[in-house]
Subunit: 94 residues, 2 copies
Amino acid sequence: MNALLDFKKIEKISKALGDCYRLKIIEAIRKEQDWMQCGDIVDMLRLSQSTVSHHLKQLTDAELLIAERDGRKTRYMLNKDVFAGFAKFIQAYD
Amino acid sequence: MNALLDFKKIEKISKALGDCYRLKIIEAIRKEQDWMQCGDIVDMLRLSQSTVSHHLKQLTDAELLIAERDGRKTRYMLNKDVFAGFAKFIQAYD
DNA sequence: GCCTCTTATCGAAAATTATCGATAAATTCG
DNA sequence: CGAATTTATCGATAATTTTCGATAAGAGGC
């Protein structure tokens, strides 16, 4: 069951997706089929750790990613429910 | 048949949707079932005409809207194909 | 407790975007 | 042609976002 998203959330999600690095991040996590941690993404992108952390925060604030702390690392994974809800919203214009 | 959208276009579309006024614009056009012109939207939003024109440009540059000049007015309508393509892209993460 | 590993936060600078008023451009009407 | 209507563009300013280095915070291992 995917949640109904209000306009504020749609705006936040759209903003979060409106950056090429953040698109690369979600794409990479999808390809991993599972999860990635911050350091993996720092290695992948040519950005500092603090910048990557910032991008991950945008994505988790928009609930596109779920952050799960495990020991000293944080596992980031896709929140498929929110992607589904967002897709549904977009389809209303189609 | 909806087009396949590359990352650059996805980024542009997401950016275009990442603003509450632009979301209001597409929603209003959808409700009209047809099209709206710039002046209609100026009346609807509390923004200057030049700002509305700017927002409409973002949306048409992202190809979410089709601008069709008719006499001295411009008809803005939804580009359903692009919405469909965008929805399809999002669904890949679901 | 101390050292290491991993991520988050802070503060500042640079880059981008939003907003406006003024003005130009395109078109219709008289 | 001149006036009116509608939209686009320009230039400037304000607001937001991105980026970084430095540093803090949390957790595991010795």
